[in-house]
Symmetry: none
Subunit: 191 residues, 4 copies
Amino acid sequence: MTGGRRRSETSRLAILDAARDLLLEGGYEQLTIDAIAGRAGVGKQTIYRWWGSKGAVVADAALEGGLAQPLTPLPDTGDIETDLRRWLRAWTEHLTTAQGTGLILALTAATADDHTVADVLFERFTQPHEQLLRDRLERARGAGQLASDAPVPTIASVLIGSLLYRVLTRQAPPTVDDADLVVRLVLGGAG
Amino acid sequence: MTGGRRRSETSRLAILDAARDLLLEGGYEQLTIDAIAGRAGVGKQTIYRWWGSKGAVVADAALEGGLAQPLTPLPDTGDIETDLRRWLRAWTEHLTTAQGTGLILALTAATADDHTVADVLFERFTQPHEQLLRDRLERARGAGQLASDAPVPTIASVLIGSLLYRVLTRQAPPTVDDADLVVRLVLGGAG
Amino acid sequence: MTGGRRRSETSRLAILDAARDLLLEGGYEQLTIDAIAGRAGVGKQTIYRWWGSKGAVVADAALEGGLAQPLTPLPDTGDIETDLRRWLRAWTEHLTTAQGTGLILALTAATADDHTVADVLFERFTQPHEQLLRDRLERARGAGQLASDAPVPTIASVLIGSLLYRVLTRQAPPTVDDADLVVRLVLGGAG
Amino acid sequence: MTGGRRRSETSRLAILDAARDLLLEGGYEQLTIDAIAGRAGVGKQTIYRWWGSKGAVVADAALEGGLAQPLTPLPDTGDIETDLRRWLRAWTEHLTTAQGTGLILALTAATADDHTVADVLFERFTQPHEQLLRDRLERARGAGQLASDAPVPTIASVLIGSLLYRVLTRQAPPTVDDADLVVRLVLGGAG
DNA sequence: GCATAAACGAGACGGTACGTCGTGTCTTTGA
DNA sequence: TCAAAGACACGACGTACCGTCTCGTTTATGC
């Protein structure tokens, strides 16, 4: 057996685009496979052939659909405080947009809902972003800007966690001032 | 006219108990209104009469069903580091249990799903716990254990956020060592 | 045993009126106990205390609510054909009104639905009307206007059945010409 | 695009069979869509996709499920009285069975309940049977066995109406003697 | 009169069935 | 051989009524 039609890249992109658009329009709860298929002009089977569940599509849409911040290394101006500020402010602003908020809420819902999605997202979204953060922190430690025993993973998780908390409480959107305070706190301590 | 049968406290409790048990057995995704009603020996309408959504029931079950940590003030041994450690360790351990993990995942899913639930939970769950934490921190500042310009709200949100992040990534359960590192970082800074 | 409040005639009438009105507005299917109670300004229990089922209320409403033709003996002009015509035309015209059609459809639905209702209605509605018809026919036989072996019960049931058929097929409302033809047929035969 | 799975004949028949069986077991009131779906091993949506209401399913079950008398022309022995007797006796006996009684009660309830069902049943059940009866009567008239001005439609409706009346009053099942009397009356008159 | 007690309105209760929606699978036709 | 279209079995949804069960409140005796 040789032949057979190849996977349609057009359909793949149409599905991810549809998922992203629907996600931003109505949130994770409104998002259905039927709606994705309809919007994308695609059969449901085409979705199930390549993704195992709604969460998997959402995860892919988040990763490829341009919803998230691009996965680029943190700037290195030589000053860790400046760079962390810049990073945290950028995320803070991103999460202030409807797009950013919707993304995180959807991913969080998907994560809380489905263990396999949690794993995929961690591996391909959270982990890489955290890694970039750690890389910059490690470089700072090498440069003597952080204490030699500074707990880099802890710092990274605290920075991300503070963002998460702001979004999930949904009370007030995080501000750049909050971001600066967090950086200040993490670097300087409260004592 | 004032008549009409009064709300059944028995049913109310049976519903919250059933919701809690099913949550711990199968997670938020397995939790259905039908199952709650069946387990509680109650008509579905009795649930819908008093709660607007699954999330609202879960929120109530968390608050009244003994799922969450009791809302007691942080101890005050006089040493803020000891007390924060104790608090964060207690939560960390609580979140290590199936009960605690299930609770937070369910509440997070409910939060991400439904804005009204998010508000209720913030007001009656997150906010009060955060307030207790802030109270202790303020007292520490008053006692000179924290810098006079220490950003108490930021400290509180960072402590909670770090917990949240650990649970949601679902990779490894948070450990007491992590807790200690976070407290250390927040009090002493990384610089 | 001493006192005790007496049955409220006001409520009884309000219930029957409400049932009748709702029946004419929406048919038997739309008719619910809740709606009757609401419209009558009455508790549901007051209905269940005195009637056993929806059908029983409907039967009573039909009998007392002025929905049906009054139960008066057929006129006796001395000519049986004239009198039967008059009787059948009156019913035909009654069944042409929305009220009459609604009544029969509702009673038929109730009859087909519920055996006990069928019995009550037969005993207090169908039977008495049929009896009046038979009485007149017997008198006609006595007067020699019908053959001495004329099957009076059969004639009666055929006259009523023809009405029923017209209403139930719901195609065209019965006309007075139809009525006359039926009387003619029954008295004169087709042979 | 023309694709798409075709309607499942297996499911269609299973639904009609289940409806028929449940009808005979418990009557129209006991018949529920859930029960039909369960018995037929079919999703409820498959029922709602093709029928609009319970009545519509019952109507179809009656028409296709072998509940009704087969739609065959009346015999023509040359003697109209014999043939009408045979026809009316056959129906009378059919309506004496649990199956026949259940059928007519169900169809009547459906008819009284739902106008659209009434139309379908009239067109596909009542009308055709009445037409066969009329055909035979017309032939008799042509053969001089009926008066040349005999009101054939009236005769047909009277014959059917008498049957209907017997079944709906539910008092005593109709007998073959009743049938003979009706035929005699219609052909010979009571005068 | 004043206790007794039944009927009243209101409306929550445990249930059953409703008709709809979404899931993930299966089948058909067309490219 | 893949893809669209869409029917399928399944199961949860949220609603409507059912008939029963408290709740106070009202109204009639009869002690």
